[in-house]
């Protein structure tokens, strides 16, 4: 009897030992540590892709060979699901990506150190103006703490076209709604799809198409509605949804639009060379590169790919009011330093180099996936090989200039609820089996949205 009890007791003791014994000691970092030249750190992000991050790190190591940086990439949703538990457990990364969208600065800012002093030390007291327009401001939390420093910006509101398909079909890049329909007829005639888009699932990518169409209808409408100065079921909003519906009915938007998200659906379809156009933001510029386009095509399932020529093009004037879409953009992501990290000193060196040094930002510019956040840095074209330099380079240079000049924000001033409601409305409009009227859909959208107070007044 006693023996049994002992056995059982031992078992319980073992379990409780295990429970307490495995407790991790959350490292308590020193936010005021001076940047160090050696150390080891981890960096987590949903972007950039691992090969790009490795290029960044390699370049960083040429100047700071004694800081070892390990990058871990996550898919968008996984990043959110993984980061919070990790930070809570004290086992989080030393450096992590932080996006300006959907209250991220508040959600994760409390885990990060205030990097304003670091910026001031590196760039001087007017540091904020050294970054792209309001990039720094977009990475502050509601208490005004600078929770991350911008690594790069991005813009959207234009489309990418596969020039090879258009040439084969004898079609031109569309400029308004009717020419878009004509182009699509020619493209479908040679067995390709016209505009690929992935609006399924819960991802918020489709909101960029909404934003582009809305800008064609009225360039001020999107931000007004997002911040409560207009309603989503105002005539402008209804017109946007009507254009959406028509684009599908007229064969502009491919019929598999609701099969999945923009990634992988639209990306793979475009990269495979199955579709003539896709709406993607500035980050797509990277696939103009001769090597990166090959990798991307292979990942989309093409064996021994030959790159096609992809070009950025203005968003067509779909509303017939004489304008396409004004570009909208903002900081893509910033780098935040975990306040509990034991490696804050090394992390500061890394973040400062990445976001505020000429060399670090030159890397960002050369990767062609982001607009460098530090002003005055442009890609070093001598080191870049495009699939077709002569055709692509001038257009990309123009794209960079126009994107940098953007004044309208992308998701920074829209709440998560608003973006989610927009996605649902788009899905309802594009789904041929939904019998609701556009007015009802827009009313539902308005009802589920939540006004943002960010950047107002």
């Amino acid at each position: 009897m006693t023996k049994i009890r002992d056995t059982a007791l031992t078992g319980i003791v073992v379990v409780s030992l295990v429970l307490t014994g495995c407790a991790t000691n959350a490292g308590s970092g020193d936010a005021s540590a001076a940047p160090a030249n050696s150390g080891k750190l981890t960096w987590w992000g949903w972007t950039p892709d691992t090969p790009v991050a490795e290029q960044y790190i390699a370049a960083f190591n040429r100047e700071y060979p004694d800081i070892k940086v390990t990058y871990k990439n996550f898919e968008n949703v996984d990043f959110r699901t993984s980061l919070t538990p990790a930070l809570d457990s004290g086992k989080g990364p030393d450096v992590f990506d932080l996006s300006p969208a959907g209250g991220s600065a508040d959600e994760w800012g409390s885990y990060a150190i205030d990097v304003a002093p670091l910026a001031k030390e590196t760039l001087g007291s007017d540091w904020e103006s050294k970054f792209g327009a309001s990039y720094a401001k977009q990475l502050t939390d509601s208490k005004g703490r600078q929770v991350a420093l911008p690594l790069g910006g991005m813009a959207a509101g234009f489309i990418w076209v596969n020039q090879n398909i258009l040439q084969e079909a004898g079609a031109a890049i569309p400029t308004d709604y009717n020419s878009w329909v004509t182009t699509c007829k020619k493209v479908t005639a040679i067995g390709k799809a016209c505009l690929t888009m992935g609006a399924g699932g819960a991802d918020t990518f489709p909101t960029e198409m909404y934003h582009s169409i809305a800008n064609s209808v009225d360039p001020s409408y999107f931000i007004k509605a997002a911040t409560g100065r207009a309603k989503w079921n105002d005539p402008e909003g209804i017109q946007v949804l009507q254009i959406f519906k028509k684009m599908k009915e007229d064969g502009i938007i491919a019929s598999n639009v609701l099969d999945g998200g923009q990634y992988p659906l639209a990306n793979n379809s475009f990269m495979k060379g199955d579709t003539a156009m896709v709406q993607m933001g500035f980050w797509y510029t990277q696939y103009a590169g001769a090597n990166s386009c090959k990798n991307a095509m292979e990942a989309a399932g093409v064996s021994n790919p030959t790159c096609f020529v992809q070009l950025p093009a203005e968003f067509p004037d779909v509303a017939g009011k004489g304008k396409g879409s004004a570009y909208f953009g903002e900081v893509d992501y910033g780098l935040a330093i975990n306040a509990e990290s034991p490696n804050i000193a090394a992390a500061k060196t890394f973040v400062a180099w990445m976001t505020m040094s000429k060399n670090g930002q030159q890397n960002v510019a050369n990767a062609l996936d982001l607009l460098p956040s530090l002003q005055g840095v442009t890609p070093d074209w001598s080191t870049l090989t495009l699939a077709n330099n002569a055709v692509q380079k001038p257009l990309i240079e123009k794209l960079i200039a126009d994107s940098t000049a953007t004044t309208q924000s992308r998701q920074w001033q829209a709440t998560k609820e608003t973006l989610d409601a927009m996605v649902v409305a788009i899905q309802q409009v594009l789904d041929p089996t939904v019998k609701m009227s556009i007015e009802d859909i827009a009313a539902g959208q308005q009802k589920s949205s939540k006004t943002s107070t960010v950047g107002v007044g």
Partner: protein, 262 residues
Amino acid sequence: MFETRSLRARLFLQFGVTIAAVPFLIPIYTMVSRSFAGGGWGNYAAVIGVPGFLQFFLNSAIVAGGSIILIYLATMTAAFGFSKLRVWRKEVLFWMMMVALTLPEIVLIAPLYATAVQLGLLGTFWSVILPIAALQIPFTVLITRGYVDGIPDTLFEAARLDGAGTFRVFWSILVPLSRSMAVALIVLVLINAWNSYLLPKVFLSSDDMGVVTLLPDFFRRQYNDDIPKILAAAVVTAIPTIVTYVALQKHFERGMAAGAIR
């Protein structure tokens, strides 16, 4: 079961079963054939080349092994206690345990998350093994109790009259006699632990703690969802469970028949 004396009837049955089995093959066929798109065998090379590829399998093995040991010990002792020993308010305790049968793991996420943070268990294998065990034990105890009930009391009484202590009775009678049940338990827990997706996804976030079900996620990225490689990863992770099932199929069915359908 079916009488198929004539050749025609046999052919008819064979044909019918074949047709009915085809839909089961479609997704499998799709998965395998599309896993070769683009890079061909290179996709598989890429999967195997994932940094820490073996670590994924090792981690799954740790989770599965830990769950099996914990569940096996807890189940056997509890089934013994419920079936053959004197316990105050035994049936009340038993029912309390059975209520837990209805609990989905998704419900555990929020509370466990907060608790794991407090106990510092986040990012340790315990944060996955303990919930798996907690969810499995009610089921395994229920079947195993049924099985142990079927072992005649006289065997235990005889041993006790010979002066054997309870532990000895457990060790030298119950454990050997319930081997086929044990195999069924192990297969069930192994497959379930190996296939667990949500718990590891939320609780094992650190780099070197990925489990095999998270392997396809490795190719799911912001800028390239590499579907052929995702499918190749899926094929690679599915193989161990299929092999396990095929290898232990006979034992498994025997255990089910003995424990569940007496």
